[in-house]
């Protein structure tokens, strides 16, 4: 392709984008209404009747199916529990095969974000603020409305595991490609594809300085940034058994990748003159000299075969899906599956979700929801209708979990303690949500009440509405707190979302 042709293409694209932007700016409100109504007709609404109560036996423990839904999804949407109870084990299989699930309703909701459908060469046409907002809204809408909920959970999981902050360099232009071509594409696939895809992802090459890791003459020192995090965070874990020497050797092996900065902006290429082509010794394995670009795959293969990688991935998945303190035996079993299947993700998930520890009543409602999950699960439970506009994004920022903006490569913490300071903002969000006071988000509580055949009278509130949201009956302390409260109707409902029970999943 000649350069002049590319330039012409660039110009015409620019003009088209401008026209598109004007069109969108002018007609936003009308579009939003249409989208939301189409989406509702496609099934994003409260069913006429919700049968499952969320109570099993004495109602003291969280219902196992409710527990399952609160781990393989961002919390039940009205009707989900009925569906899971009707389908049994095939529900999980369906979730493991997201392509088999019709997701038009969610697609309609996210189709508004033109920017995310452009290829990465043309992303620079957009203002950073547009991309930042589009990515956040896209991510929230998918989490709220997609029926492929397990996929969305894994997208969250891998987005943290291979964290990239869009605040560094050009990452903001290239993260959409990373999200589509690496994280979403392989979220339920094979771990090797994820690592390799991430290693070659333009956004990652910027975020961890891979594109500037050059060794072109004697005495040049490689940039170790990516090499260290590849070992520490992406594969082996910090105590996985590598040394500083291994980090240095991996950095040498991965030197020479660069990004185009004009035409085909953002695309990766390999510059052999900046690659350290000598032999390397990594974790006891020798990579012969002269390997060039192929060194990367050799490094990944060494890491894939290392038992620490299997263990680390197994541990993190168990921690996310099963318990903050996963049983070492369970982790070992998952790690064995990783080794046998060479990094297949689905079999590990099946194993984790079928485990005794997962089903145990001791594991239920023991994980503290991070702000993103707290907000999404609240909106899902009440079937909120939203375009995830600026007010919602601001709540998320305020609670310290803005999308793709965690600065350091370890991703948003899984531990509960760092999030303990966010209670006030959760309470404010829940009260505003139930009072229909959040612009761009509405809930239809009377309709939800009808579907549940419940009202705010104490028995119905405690025996229907509370279990619907929490998966069990209120305990003595909760009953007392509600019955003594001066709050009424939707104010009281908000208190369930504010309560300690709803902070857990």
């Amino acid at each position: 392709m000649s350069d002049s042709k590319t330039v012409r293409e660039e110009i015409s694209r620019r003009r088209m984008l401008y026209v598109l932007a004007c069109f969108y700016g002018a007609s936003l409100t009308g579009c939003e209404l249409v989208r939301s109504s189409i989406s509702q007709n496609l099934g994003h609404r409260i069913p006429d009747s919700i049968k499952s109560s969320g109570i099993v036996g004495s109602g003291r423990e969280v219902d196992l199916d409710f527990h399952t839904l609160s781990r393989i999804s961002f919390g039940p949407f009205p009707g989900d529990l009925d569906r899971l109870k009707a389908m049994g084990a095939s529900y999980l299989e369906e979730q493991l095969h997201p392509d088999s699930i019709d997701d038009k309703a969610a697609d309609v909701r996210v189709r508004r974000f033109e920017s995310l459908e452009f290829d990465m060469h043309n992303m620079h046409e957009f203002k950073k603020e547009v991309l930042r907002s589009d990515m956040a809204r896209f991510t929230m809408l998918k989490a709220i409305y997609s029926r492929r909920q397990l996929l969305e959970c894994l997208v969250e999981f891998w987005s943290d595991h291979f964290n990239i902050s869009i605040d560094k360099g050009d990452c903001i232009y290239l993260k959409p490609a990373d999200q589509n071509n690496v994280i979403r594409k392989h979220a339920l696939g094979n771990f090797r594809d994820l690592v390799l895809g991430s290693a070659r992802s333009p956004a990652m090459l910027i975020y961890l300085d891979g594109k500037d890791n050059h060794v072109s003459k004697a005495g040049d020192r490689p940039n170790e940034n990516y090499a260290r995090e590849l070992l520490e965070l992406h594969t082996m874990g910090v105590y996985g058994g590598y040394t500083q020497q291994d980090v240095y050797e991996v950095a040498r092996a991965l030197s020479g990748f660069k990004l185009h900065d004009r035409y085909r902006r953002g695309e990766v290429y390999f510059d052999r003159s900046c690659h350290d082509d000598g032999p390397k010794k990594i974790l006891g394995h020798v990579i012969a000299g002269g390997g060039g670009e192929g060194d990367l795959e050799q490094v990944i293969d060494i890491l894939m075969k290392h038992p620490s990688t299997a263990h680390y991935v197994a541990y993190k998945l168990s921690r996310y899906f099963v318990s903050d303190n996963p049983d070492p035996q369970l982790v070992k079993e998952l790690a064995d599956t990783f080794k046998e299947t060479k990094g297949e993700i689905k079999p590990m998930l099946r194993q984790a979700l079928a485990s005794d520890q997962f089903k145990s009543s001791l594991s239920r409602a023991t994980k503290f929801k991070r702000p993103f999950r707290f907000m999404v699960s609240s909106i899902r439970a009440l079937a909120g209708d939203t375009n995830a506009g600026a007010p919602l994004v601001r709540y998320l920022e305020r609670m310290g979990q803005p999308v793709f903006q965690y600065p350091t490569p370890d991703g948003y913490p899984m531990e509960s303690q760092p999030w303990m300071g966010t209670l006030l903002w959760r309470w404010n969000f829940a009260m505003a949500l139930c009072a229909n006071k959040i612009e761009s988000l509405s809930v239809d509580l009377p309709r939800l009440g009808e579907a549940l055949n419940a009202d705010y009278s104490p028995p119905k509130f405690q025996n229907k509405i509370f279990p619907y949201l929490v998966g069990r009956l209120p305990d003595e302390g909760e009953r007392q707190a509600f019955s003594e409260s001066k709050l009424k109707e939707q104010e009281l409902l908000a208190m369930i979302l504010c309560s300690p029970a709803f902070q857990m999943h």
Partner: protein, 444 residues
């Protein structure tokens, strides 16, 4: 594990060659800390408490996340090796620090730290050279975790301890502490505060308000207090209690108005940068002036992980340094006479390599220079011996850099001791396993 023995040997070797004279004694605790020594101290100290109510003093910890390259902040201009290892990124035009004593090394200051120079000259600010942990992992997260929990690195791992070092300090209080005794600026609660009787996480004072759109806030608070009071998850119940108390306290103080009044009163004699650090320190100053019972506060500055084109007098790191210098200076100016009661410490998880990498940045290293400002601590000096810069072949078990000659725990306990007049025997409670040695009494 053979690796670990090797590792600990490495530490000793580094220090033995680096330590000159008195410094050798200083370097001992790192490799020998822990062990039986702590137990008797711990038992004796168990009955001791800290009377926080006795003074208005408080401690502010600024954490530079990412591993700050302090070699370009407190510049060893006198060392030819420094310029040799950093042909492109060395700070050539540093501001000379006045010598604190005859024969003291002639360090320079990064030009963007100029706002701190008057504080140094008036004896209110000092540097402590070659501070660090014994962490060999080279990982930000492990090193930060270790520092904030106040533990050691043993057998190739960070030794688990319960709570953070500031949390343990506050838990020693002889009397009840208020809801704003421990403040973490930002959304995330600093790990070092874990275990404190009460922790408030604030992004800004003006945002601390319970917004009940339709109901009475008192009724909401009452219901929440009952729901969380009956909750068996103690961590969650404690966080809710802290939050509810903080709301009450801030409301009762009318802090927002007070801040506004103070600002009008003082005019714009100081200029806080419009950064998280600057604005956070501004809010902290408001809390301190309002005498809400603040004892310790934690605040972060992000982005110091300068692997790539870090710049020198200008550039990427210079921007962070400018923000730090201006924020700290504005904080001191704003505090006015109160700065005698407020000690500020600036820390990072590790320093960086002595040499520049091929992308004109620096990779993870070891020791760093801490900054101590205000309070009753004697400033105008660089505490600690300069370990020199050594050629680093990189092919070792752990990242190298400036050698660590001062255990960060000794320094932090010294600062706490001087700020809150704490009994020395409490060192082993605040930092389990420590064999405490004074740092700030060393000649500069």
């Amino acid at each position: 594990m053979p690796e670990n023995t090797k590792n600990s040997k490495d530490i000793k070797n580094t220090k033995d060659t680096a330590g000159k004279g008195k410094q050798q004694a200083q370097s001992q605790p790192l490799s020998e800390s822990g062990g039986q020594q702590t137990r008797p101290g711990g038992r004796a100290a168990a009955a001791l408490t800290v009377d926080f109510a006795a003074s208005e003093h408080c401690l502010v910890v600024i954490f530079l996340r990412g591993g700050a390259d302090t070699l370009n902040m407190l510049v060893p201009s006198f060392d030819d090796d420094y310029h040799r290892f950093r042909p492109t990124i060395a700070i050539g035009k540093s501001l000379p620090l006045p010598a604190s004593a005859p024969g003291a090394l002639a360090y320079g200051l990064h030009p963007q730290l100029a706002p701190l120079l008057p504080l140094y000259e008036s004896g209110e600010l000092s540097f402590v050279q070659a501070v660090g942990t014994d962490n060999l992992s080279g990982s930000h997260f492990e090193a930060q975790d270790q520092m904030e929990h106040g533990s050691t690195f043993k057998g190739g791992h960070v030794e688990p301890v319960s709570g953070g070092y500031l949390g343990r300090l506050l838990a020693l209080s002889s009397g009840p502490l208020g809801p704003l005794s421990a403040v973490s600026m930002g959304t995330n609660v600093a790990e070092s505060l874990r275990g404190a009787p009460s922790i408030a996480a604030l992004s800004g004072i003006d945002e601390v308000v319970l917004e009940a759109p339709t109901a009475e806030t008192a009724a909401v608070s009452a219901t929440l207090a009952k729901l969380y009071g009956a909750c068996s998850n103690k961590e969650l119940a404690g966080a809710a209690t802290s939050t509810l108390q903080m709301l009450e306290r801030i409301k009762a103080l009318g802090l927002r108005q007070q801040q506004e009044n103070l600002r009008k009163l003082k005019g714009a004699n100081w200029q806080y940068p419009d950064s998280e650090l600057g604005q956070g320190l501004r809010d902290l100053c408001g809390l301190i002036k309002a005498r809400v019972g603040l004892k310790v506060a934690c605040i972060d500055s992000d982005g110091w992980d300068t692997h790539f084109v870090q710049g020198n007098e200008e550039g990427l790191q210079a921007g962070f340094i400018r923000d730090l210098g201006n924020s700290l200076r504005a904080f001191q100016d704003d505090l006015g006479p109160l700065r005698k009661q407020v000690t500020t410490v600036v820390l990072t998880e590790f320093g960086r390599r002595v040499y520049q990498n091929s992308s004109l940045g620096t990779d993870h290293g070891r020791g760093f220079a801490a900054i101590i400002c205000g309070g009753a601590i004697k400033g105008g000096r660089v505490v600690g011996v300069y370990p020199g810069l050594k050629e680093d072949p990189s092919l070792t078990l752990a990242p190298t850099g400036l050698s660590v000659l001062i255990d960060y725990r000794d320094l932090l306990f010294d600062v706490m001791k001087q700020t809150f007049s704490i009994d020395e025997r409490l060192a082993a409670v605040v930092f389990p396993g420590i064999r405490y040695k004074q740092i700030l009494s060393l000649p500069g």
